[in-house]
Symmetry: C2
Subunit: 360 residues, 2 copies
């Protein structure tokens, strides 16, 4: 998943990814187009966005921004197609609420309402649906946000996989929030709010098609309390937040490095990873840096506020294992470098291909 | 689809539908649960809504209401699973934008932003997706509303039917809007904005599994211009609006009759129906009153404003065939009666069963 490139190759890659618009060259959709890596990016930027183009959408951030009667709002939507529906630590119902709440949270927006659309497969057991609606209700209560509207459709057997959920959220942007990748600058510290890779590894293990058992639970949880506390502690010194879902922390860092035209140096030994997750990842040949999280955010903070941000995170249960893991540099622009425990550097590239389909 | 009941049976039905909460008694989801009739109602009211309960959701209107910093907003979401993807008069991309725009419009809300979530089947031709994204873009431009955020997921072959779309909309509630079923009162006139049944019949014919050909096109179109003009013309005299999608005009009238505890008498001969739609319906044994529309609204208006409302509708292309079709009475509460061209009455019941799955 990580490869060494020559300087020329790296330069070419940045050129390709940043300055030229992505083109979608495939004739058909493949599973890789849904995995959150390069192929997903080509699909979204090369096919979906251009016809719909407008400034809010082109930001390609976790939520769109709009202003109604002077009120700053954020809007975000996510389709959940996770397989299996239930897994250690959560279920599609939890994900569907928390994932959307977290896209608002990292946009600096307090979640104020959710909608839920259900696509049900004919023959779905009513109790399976009941359990997921209850999971959504519990997660919504925990996150303090009401589900104000919904829709339910049924499709024939074999035209869905039990149950897909699409949740959309509206958030009211916090007055102190001034968040965007463009505000990230050299010197900024990068924090992650806890252990990484838990969700993706939990899903892989829950599928049961690997000859591997480990006690790994999804980290699905709402993050608005954490985001709000960071906004309170850092104000405009909080430059950008992202939740590290599909594609993991490595993808978030690459996206920000490209958008802000900065280099990011990651101290790999500082990245919190549970031993079970690291172990499973090693056996499976998967780097936890690329694995989806469903309750972790990455924050870019002005250097003088990094310690306050860390303390704030650690004071909350959802940020108990937070760590400062990276620093922003001028060079090399658009690249993420990992400093290994042996003192060397490696290029941490965008995710290529599709190791983990239908992870959320 | 319509049946004669005794007074006792009718009374029992009202009791059952209005005062007692619906129960969901089935063990499994069937296609009927997605058709917009009684089974859909039982699923939504008996299974989905109770755990999520809050005042906005319990309204079960076309959109949820929320207020952020004093600004009245409406939020609505719809999943689109129509088969086939393209049909005379439109495609899933048009529907996905217009349907959501119209749910806002009949809530008295100017559409201000949309989100789009795509669930794609592995192997989907890129050109099919390209065409639908373009259709969404064109429909959004026509409706004057930007798509500000989105999500794309891919599922394995056989876990979707090419492409499902979920669009969610935010609207800013018009200052003159005071719309709810509870405002409907005896004496109100009921208008439909044009010919009914076009969309559903167009879809049925487009599937090609009926030995029947007719030149019927979907009526998919945005209705905010019409809704806004009605609000301007009638102000608070416009009591309620609904778009007559799944379940058709008959279902809308039944829902309002039950919610407002009024009787509605429909002059069946006044209902605008294209001859091709009436003819196809007759051959198929389907009453156009129960057939989905995707560009028609039903408006309940104070009697002294009915003519102004009609004139307003007819002045716009989207309301050119509008008609006053029914009147609200005190009795029989919770029921819709059709006055036939022979002078008799029939009970126009809620839709039972599933004549038209995946119509939108």
């Amino acid at each position: 998943m990580t490869t060494q490139f020559t300087e020329d190759q790296v330069g070419e890659r940045i050129e390709q990814m940043r300055r030229r618009p992505q083109r979608f060259r495939d004739d058909h959709i493949t599973m890789a187009h849904g995995a959150g890596g390069k192929a997903s990016r080509a699909l979204v930027e090369g096919l979906v966005v251009p016809p719909l183009a407008n400034p809010a959408l082109e930001q390609l951030s976790d939520a769109g921004a709009l202003t109604v009667n002077g009120t700053r709002l954020a809007m975000t939507t996510d389709a959940y197609v996770v397989r299996p529906l239930r897994f250690p630590g959560g279920s599609i119902g939890d994900l569907a609420v928390n994932g959307t709440v977290n896209d608002l949270a990292v946009s600096g927006a307090r979640p104020v309402s959710l909608s839920v659309a259900l696509i049900l497969e004919e023959g779905l057991a009513a109790d399976v649906l009941r359990a997921e609606v209850q999971a959504m209700a519990d997660a919504a209560t925990r996150a303090g946000v009401p589900v104000v509207t919904g829709d339910t459709k049924v499709v024939e057997r074999g035209k869905c996989d039990q149950l897909y959920v699409v949740t959309t959220g509206i958030g009211a942007v916090h007055e102190a929030a001034d968040l965007s990748p463009q505000r990230v600058r050299p010197g900024d510290k990068v924090l992650v709010s806890g252990t990484i890779g838990d969700h993706g590894i939990a899903i892989l293990l829950a599928r049961g098609d690997l000859d591997l058992e480990a006690d790994v639970r999804s980290d699905t949880q709402p993050l608005w309390d954490l985001a709000e506390a960071l906004l309170g502690a850092c104000g405009a010194g909080l430059h950008c937040m992202r939740d590290a879902t599909r594609g993991g922390v490595a993808t978030v860092l690459n996206e920000i490095a490209l958008a802000a035209e900065v280099g990011i140096v990651l101290e790999e030994s500082r990245v919190p990873v549970r031993p079970e997750v690291a172990g499973a990842g090693e056996i499976l040949g998967i780097d936890p840096l690329y694995v989806a999280n469903e309750g972790k955010l990455v924050a870019f903070v002005a250097p003088d506020l990094a310690d306050a941000a860390l303390e704030t995170m650690r004071s909350l249960p959802s940020g108990a294992d937070a760590a400062i893991v990276a620093e922003v540099h001028e060079d090399p622009p658009g690249r993420v470098l990992g400093r290994t425990s042996f003192g060397g550097h490696r290029l941490i590239d965008m995710l290529v291909g599709d190791p983990l389909p239908r992870i959320c």
